[in-house]
Amino acid sequence: MVFIDLYRFRLKILLKDKALFFWTLIFPIMLGTFFWLAFSNITEKAEHIGKIDAALVDSGEYANKEQLDTFLQSVSGKDGNIKLREVSEDEAESMLEAGDVCGIINVSDKISLEFKDNGMQQTILKTMMDSYIQNEKLIMNIIKNNPEKLDAVIKSVSEEHTYNVEKSAASGDMDVYIQYYFALIAMSCLFGSSYGMKNAKDIQIMQSDVAKRRNVAPTGRMVNVLADFLSAVTVQTILFALLFIYLDIFLGINMGNRYGYILLAGFLAGVTGVGYGYVIGLLIKCSENFKEGIMRASTLLMCFLAGLMVGNMKYFIETNAPVINKINPAAVISDSFYSLCVFGDVKMYARCILTLVVMSVVFFGISVVCIRRDRA
């Protein structure tokens, strides 16, 4: 058969699998809609955030008071986004009660925060102070060794983790909860591994009768593999595009307009997902249902770590075990969109893309080896 026919048939077979279609497209759309309903309430309130009011209660006991002051000055200065008032403890309490400030920064021998309720301002404040605490050592070193770089470092510390929140708060049009949608896209792309698994099953002689029939025919094995693989990636890319269009146009989640890059990221995310499915389908020797279970569970775990269920998760990992974010496909996929749509950071985007390419190559390499060994 001409190659294009093999490809076309496989495309048809994959597209007609309703279960896979559900998991890779319908389910993410449902979840996305759910997010949208849940968040639209909160984000509406968030749209007109100006500066964040906070009270500072400083007992003067803090060991690195000098650094802290420099930091606080810089974030509450003209360009900063916090309006800080230093008051007594009682005053601070009553201001918080009255709603004049959104939170209290308590500085004694350690730094603690106090809030009355949850909201975006509180999140920004917390993120910023956490980030300071994490980076205090770094700042101290700099003060000792390269004082001239201090400003730049403080700026980066205060901005690194609040950039998104800050920007969205300032412009009012950027969805703070956009990271959930990126994790959602990552989930959809990784669920594309079902297509890889299906392909893996239909090429292994011991796994499926159809594979036996394909293997007695005079068509090269790798020709079949290539046609299968390209069809799976095509399907996955199409489903990605549909999901993206739904999120972007129907839900109105602004994800930027660098469509070429977005498509490239979606395509490579699909390749990674399909590759992951191949690897599970070929390496793990157990029933189809069990494999499917492993695939779904592992994918969901990756997405959980990338912030699908708990927004702060990714940040938490970034500060505690950053290497996980570098090798977790879901985190890399969602980062690639993050860098593109939120940061506009080409370097970070390029790094993510490269990581995806490397992962895909590894997955594909493993798959080819397994398939070659299959003839038992």
């Binding site: 058969m1 048939f9 009768d209 029939r213 293997n215 025919a217 005079p218």
Partner: protein, 314 residues
């Protein structure tokens, strides 16, 4: 006649289990060759080895005079396979399935189209072209399975129990179809554990058990191999078992049993056996009902060679 398949000293192990043990086989052009054996005797394993789906531990396999390997595309192009299990895509229609598998062999699109049409006519699935496999009954599914294997007009066709779980009507259709393929020039290797089928269509038969080829020949040759004539059974409500010894002394009698109000007498060769037996009963005023007499079957052959029934507890 040319030799199409030659299998010499084939040894195949699945870990500890020896699935094929010094197996030999030779199939000539134009035959319908039957591989007859009970479940697990190694029929499918034999076919898989010949097709290059399985590696084997020892032995030599030649197809169309060439050593078979998974990369012998020229040989594979001339082979058609009907798997024991229905092997079709659930997502494709009847037409598309046949088209796909035919397409793996036939590059030319218009030729392919013609072949697919002919295959659909051959298995009589014209009314179901647009159906997906799930909508087909078991018998129709089997027919689709066959069409997928033979649409490209192979010269050598393997059929691994193509009639399992098919009603008698469809089964006869399938058997007729196989004969037709053969008369159109295809050599056929047919496996089954239904000896009636094998007797009906196969020109030569190999009897397998536990991975061994126990006997090869035409069905007459096989039956001659064992020293049995007809089996007679007679319904007798009231039978005095003391006669059993006397019946045993009649000419050509091989064994005598009385079970379930039926007298079973097996004969070795010879003529007028039944008449002598009935005369014996009449002389002693034994009243009897229906009388059946049948020639030995491959089942008897199998029983004789292996000491067990062909179909164990099916």
């Amino acid at each position: 006649m040319e030799t199409v398949i030659k299998v010499e000293n084939l040894l195949k192990r699945y870990n500890e289990l020896i699935a094929l043990d010094n197996f030999n086989l030779e199939v000539k052009e134009g035959e319908i060759f039957g591989l007859l054996g009970p479940n697990g005797s190694g029929k499918s394993t034999t076919i898989s080895c010949i097709l290059g789906l399985l590696k084997y531990d020892k032995g030599n396999i030649e197809v169309f005079g060439k050593k078979m390997s998974p990369y012998e595309y020229d040989i594979k192009r001339q082979i058609g396979v009907v798997m024991q299990n229905v092997a079709v895509f659930d997502e494709l229609t009847v037409y598309e399935n046949i088209d796909y598998f035919c397409g793996l062999y036939i590059k030319d699109r218009s030729l392919r189209k013609q072949y697919v049409k002919e295959a659909i006519d051959f298995v009589n699935l014209g009314d179901f072209e647009k159906f997906v496999p799930q909508k087909l009954s078991g018998g129709l599914l089997r027919r689709l399975n066959i069409a997928c294997g033979i649409a490209h007009k192979p010269k050598l066709i393997f059929m691994d129990e193509p009639t399992v779980a098919v009603d008698p009507q469809s089964r006869n259709n399938i058997l007729e179809g196989i004969k037709k393929l053969n008369s159109d020039g295809a050599t056929i290797v047919y496996t089954s554990h239904y000896m009636e089928e094998v007797e009906k269509i196969c020109t030569r038969i190999a009897i397998m058990d536990k991975g061994k080829n126990l006997a090869i020949g035409t069905k007459e040759e096989l039956k001659n191999m064992i020293n049995l004539g007809e089996n007679v059974s007679i319904e007798i409500l009231d039978f005095d078992e003391k006669y059993i010894q006397d019946i045993k002394k009649l000419p050509n009698v091989y064994s005598v049993e009385y079970v379930n109000k039926n007298l079973h007498v097996k004969y070795t060769k010879g003529q007028r056996n039944l008449i002598e037996l009935l005369d014996f009963l009449r002389e002693r005023n034994v009243e009897f009902g229906h009388v059946y007499s049948e020639l030995p079957t491959l089942d008897d052959v199998f029983l004789e060679i292996t000491g067990k029934e062909l179909r164990d507890g099916e």
